[in-house]
């Protein structure tokens, strides 16, 4: 780094610091729950509300993919969770998205009960639980028993292998939990609307308490092979306030077996 740039960067850091601290102040920093070591306490069971899992971009309501499902399967409208409203796809990647959206019921990995990946796991219409300790944060998702371990303050810990739920490295930025997620399988989608990525995906998540019972969740998405620039989605995570709330099982595989293996059962018509 040249000496000339240094003061500029310092000024930039100061501005970032000011913005961060003003955000923290607006989050009522005094009243958020904290763990015994003074960190913001994200322990608990959380869930989003909304229709981002159908389509993260703004969308009107539309019909069910199978008419038999009637109103039950119809897709509710949503204001969208993508900053600026549209995902900045490269043209070829946009065409691919449109094609996937057309065939989403057949192609969406989540329909087959594959693990959703990040950030999608956080806005599936299922609760997830955070178990937080200083060194590791476990995120356990009711959907498909998906899970991930966030390794705190180990920036040099490389992903041993690519995985469906990715490799999560966490750190604290003031009262915000920042998690960098890399090495995800290229196959996962962002929603039921065909929004996709490649193996180059890098997600930076930010969790900031809005109050004791709400977290502002932001994810910055980078994938130069698919998008022309980084983009951001955000939404609140709400604490499930039911007394004695707990995760239950949604083992999921058992609900997809007829779809995946039914054609191979005795007596089923076998496609030649």
């Amino acid at each position: 780094m040249t000496a000339k740039l240094q003061p500029l960067l310092n000024a930039f850091s100061l501005i970032t610091l000011l913005i961060t601290s003003s955000l923290a102040a607006s989050a009522d920093a005094q009243n958020i729950p904290r763990t015994a070591d003074g960190k913001p306490d994200f322990n608990g069971i959380w869930q989003t509300i909304g229709s981002a899992h159908y389509d993260i971009e703004p969308h009107a309501a539309r019909a069910a993919p199978l008419f038999q499902l009637g109103a039950f399967g119809a897709i509710p409208a949503g204001l969208g969770v993508v900053e600026g409203g549209s995902i900045p796809y490269h043209p070829a990647a946009l065409a691919k998205k449109q094609d996937k959206q057309q065939n989403w019921l057949a192609e969406d990995p989540v329909v087959k009960c594959y693990m959703p990946g990040v950030p999608r796991a956080n806005y599936m219409p299922f609760p997830f639980q955070i178990v937080q300790s200083p060194e590791h944060i476990a995120m356990s998702y009711e959907f498909a028993s998906a899970m991930r371990i966030v390794y705190m303050n180990r920036p040099d810990f490389k992903a041993p292998v690519p995985s469906w739920m990715g490799h999560s490295l966490g750190s604290w930025e003031g009262d915000t939990l920042v998690i960098e997620v890399t090495e995800q399988m290229p196959d996962s989608w962002f929603d039921h609307a065909g929004n996709h990525h490649s193996a180059a995906l890098r997600v930076v998540e930010r969790y900031t308490h809005l109050s004791a019972d709400a977290i502002m969740y932001e994810a910055t998405i980078e994938d130069p092979e698919v998008f022309s620039r980084p983009w951001k989605l955000s939404m609140p995570l709400y604490r499930r306030l039911e007394p004695r709330m707990q995760l239950l099982e949604f083992k999921c595989v058992e609900f997809t077996e007829e779809l995946i293996y039914g054609h191979l059962s005795k007596g089923a018509d076998i496609a030649e």
């Binding site: 763990t35 015994a36 070591d37 322990n43 990995p109 009960c113 594959y114 693990m115 639980q129 178990v131 937080q132 300790s133 200083p134 060194e135 590791h136 944060i137 476990a138 356990s140 498909a144 028993s145 998906a146 899970m147 371990i149 390794y151 041993p160 292998v161 995985s163 469906w164 739920m165 399988m185 004695r244 707990q246 995760l247 239950l248 099982e249 083992k251 595989v253 058992e254 077996e257 995946i260 293996y261 039914g262 191979l264 059962s265 005795k266 076998i270």
Partner: protein, 335 residues
């Protein structure tokens, strides 16, 4: 399924670790200079990755009769034979298979028709001088099954023989990537656990098919009896420095050695040293066994991370098994 998983637990050479002194004298070790670490909330700290790689079989082989431990001479023989088996590079030996092979001097393939995974898929196993994981009944063997349970098991076995692969429903839950059962006891194959603790919750992450048990630390009532789960409903509490977890509400399909929805499962986790987490469990089900039984496993600390075992996502084997069965049918019918 599992063959698509890669990871450093699966090293190309089966190494036999000889953690003799640490394991044998697990309790004595703890008395010395080691102090039980505590979490930021003051609870005993069980956090980290733990391995269940012991060679000790669940049930005591009859040759040992009422002896809980091997003599020094027998242990030395065990060690020598174990090294031989390891260097032979034969078929993989899961769970009790390793100890049985050492005893008989013969490696028996799990799948004599095609051969199985070879030993390069296996982790290093740890030798203990115990003769069984079961500590109660004192003979180290499962208690007798009730008549009702034997009938149930016989019926299921004959159903399996008659319908080996008519549909996915005929295949074992493991092959379907639904569950390896609760508790998962099979040593030597993705048999790793990571524990993360908060003030009022313990998460036990099981590498095998990425299951997480999130256990609330309260003695409140279990969930409604109508909710039945593959892995049951768990409640934990501290009893001194031991974490006790009681689990019930198992589903009728949640098979564990012939027991299912009526079992009550009690676990006790205790750290007995820097590298040992003692795991004791008792299963009680008067509709399956004539008496409760208890086993003890010594989990050993691992420095490796937990890997993602994406079982279902790569389960091409189940399609292969079913389409193979259909092909055989067509061949038999001369089509």
């Amino acid at each position: 399924m599992s063959i698509y998983r890669t990871g450093i637990h699966q090293f190309p050479i089966l190494r036999v670790a000889l953690v003799i002194s640490a394991l044998i004298s697990g309790t004595a070790y703890s008395q010395q200079d080691w102090v039980l670490p505590r979490t930021i909330d003051g609870h005993p700290d069980f956090q980290g990755v733990w391995a269940n790689n012991s060679v000790t079989p669940l049930q005591r082989p009859e040759v040992f009769a009422d002896r809980e431990q091997l003599s020094a001479e027998e242990f030395e023989q065990l060690r020598v034979k174990a090294e031989q088996i390891a260097s032979d590079d034969g078929d993989a030996l899961f769970g009790d298979g390793f100890f049985n092979a050492v005893l008989s001097g013969e490696v028996q393939s799990y799948d004599p028709a095609t051969g199985n995974y070879d030993s390069s898929w296996m982790v290093e196993r740890q030798l203990e001088n115990r003769t069984s994981l079961i500590v109660d009944p004192p003979d180290g063997r499962l208690p007798a099954m009730t008549e009702q349970a034997s009938t149930r098991l016989m019926a299921r076995m004959s159903e399996r023989r008659e319908r080996p692969a008519d549909s996915y429903l005929d295949r074992p839950l493991q092959e379907r990537c639904i569950t390896y059962g609760m508790p998962y006891l099979l040593a030597g194959y993705n048999s790793y656990y990571q524990i993360v603790q908060s003030k009022d919750t313990v998460a036990i992450i099981q590498e095998m098919i990425h299951d997480v048990r999130v256990i609330p630390l309260d003695k409140d009532a279990h969930i409604d009896d109508k909710i039945r789960l593959w892995h049951g409903d768990s409640r934990g509490y501290w009893e001194g420095d031991t974490l006790v977890i009681e689990t019930r509400n198992f589903s009728a399909e949640s098979d564990f050695r012939g027991a299912a929805e009526n079992r009550i499962f009690t676990e006790r986790y205790t750290r007995t040293g820097p590298d040992i987490l003692r795991y004791e469990f008792t299963v009680e089900d008067p509709t399956t066994w004539v008496s409760p039984w208890t086993a003890v496993l010594n989990y050993t600390r691992s420095e490796d991370p937990i890997y993602e075992y994406a079982c279902h996502e790569g389960n091409y084997a189940l399609e292969g098994i079913l389409s193979g069965a259909r092909t055989e049918e067509r061949d038999r019918a001369g089509l």
